[in-house]
Amino acid sequence: MLHNSLKIFGSYAHLMGRTFSRPDRWKEFFKCYIDEIYKLGVNSIPIVIIISLFIGAVIAIQMQLNIVSPLLPKYTVGVATREIILLEFSSTMLALILSGKVGSNIASEIGAMRVTEQIDALEIMGINSANYIILPKIAGMVTFMPVLVIFSMATGILGGYAIAVLTGIISISILTYGIQAFFNEFYIWYALFKSLFFAYIISSIASFYGYTVKGGSLQVGKASTNAVVVSSVMILLVDVIITQIMMG
């Protein structure tokens, strides 16, 4: 088990070594990079908005229903909703959701290229296929992830507001006060910082599982499952580590 994990980590490190080298053609690299930002990032905006709106709403409802203590001021609902969204939801939970969407997309795309020999075809042309295929994906994901996080924060809080406006279970003025009270800008930087690691984890692990597919379409399916499972676990692990270091 340990031996196997080390072996997998070794080949992952080797692949990353090949990935992070100078592109053969910068022009081609930038073209692929823009494509990937669009494919992986921009195309994820709708799902990020929808999920964040609903989760923001649900968090606000839960806070309102569960924080019923005479010792806590009413605006605690706003503070708690904001902190949950800023600290964990818009970075970690969002990353888990994206590992499903983006991770499986990357792994199956690269896996299909492997089994149809497109990767071999690149190699035969003397192109570093890992660099050509994987680097734009990692770069695109890492640069666009913060944008997704900001979208998620904004729409999450909007979701909370929507509940106040639509149902009236929370007073809007109290919620507004709570959301602004004791605001610490560092939390936003903290979430953005974490999200960069998550973006790297999602894109590099999915690329690894796709790139190392052996066999046929059955194995491509397995690879994309593995990519999602492994990157989810790694995201949570790294979350614990970064949280301990930065907040502890």
């Binding site: 053969d24 053609r25 290229m113 497109q118 071999d120 075809a121 035969i124 003397g126």
Partner: protein, 255 residues
């Protein structure tokens, strides 16, 4: 000319190629033939360097690719074109995009120049009016031809084809065989073709290497194949009743 010496290759202890030595000549269509599973694909992938044999030498006009540095391999690869068993066209690129791809990665030429060269190659394989279609929108035979066009785009010295006419109808196969034979002679390429298609063997086999269960069993030309007395080869080439009759006819003609 490509010369291989004593190539051995195995996968996790299972030996696939046994001590294979052979020569592939410039300006000739060199055929590697053998049954399904005999090791043809593994042999070709070993020669081009997509797989690494455990031992042996692979000499590209005297240059041993087994001991080359990464940068030298990269330079050598620019002289190699390859046609894969499943075409291996890039799904995300159009037909024209596929053929232009090696040009834009390796030449400093303007887009217009690259496009002209790509169109010339597509014309060379008799493909017209499909430039803007994607690989999934054209037939298997057309995909093969696009793959050939892409393989010859950089004017390679060495051309490798893994089963260029598997899955094609006899007429299209013939067109592809003739095409490969023509460009080989025209550009003095060293062409290596994997096949188990007997029409190709008898049609364009100028230097035939017969592989059986990972061993080199026989070497010769298409004329020698009809008169040879190697039992395994005869069994393989003239397996069907039709080809047995063909052999009869050829032998009688020879007399």
């Amino acid at each position: 000319m490509i010369e291989i010496k004593h190539i051995n290759k195995s996968f996790e202890g299972k030996q696939v190629l046994y001590d294979i030595s052979a020569q592939f000549y410039e300006g000739k269509t060199n055929l590697i033939i053998g049954q399904s599973g005999s090791g043809k694909t593994v042999l070709v992938k070993s020669i081009v360097g997509l797989m690494r044999p455990e031992s042996g030498e692979i000499l590209y006009d005297g240059r041993n690719s087994m001991v080359m540095k990464t940068s030298q391999i990269k330079a050598l690869r620019k002289e190699i074109g390859m046609l894969f068993q499943g075409s291996a066209l890039f799904d995300s690129e159009t037909v024209l995009g596929n053929v232009i791809f090696p040009l834009k990665m390796y030449t400093r030429d303007s887009y217009a120049t690259c496009k002209k060269r790509a169109e010339f190659c597509l014309d060379r394989v008799n493909l017209h009016g499909v430039n803007d279609l994607y690989p999934s929108e054209i037939s298997g035979g057309m995909q093969k031809r696009v793959a050939i066009a892409r393989a010859i785009a950089l004017n390679p010295k060495y051309l490798f084809c893994d089963e260029p006419n598997s899955g094609l109808d006899p007429k299209t196969s013939l067109v592809i065989d003739e095409l490969l034979s023509d460009i080989t002679h025209e550009y003095k390429m060293t062409t290596i073709i994997n096949t188990h298609d007997m029409n190709s063997v008898l049609g364009i086999g100028e230097n035939i290497i017969f592989i059986r269960k990972g061993h080199k069993e026989w070497v010769g030309t298409r004329d020698e194949i009809t008169t040879c007395d190697n039992v395994a080869l005869e069994d393989f080439v003239f397996a069907t009743p039709l080809f047995k009759e063909v052999k009869h006819y050829l032998v009688e003609q020879g007399k």
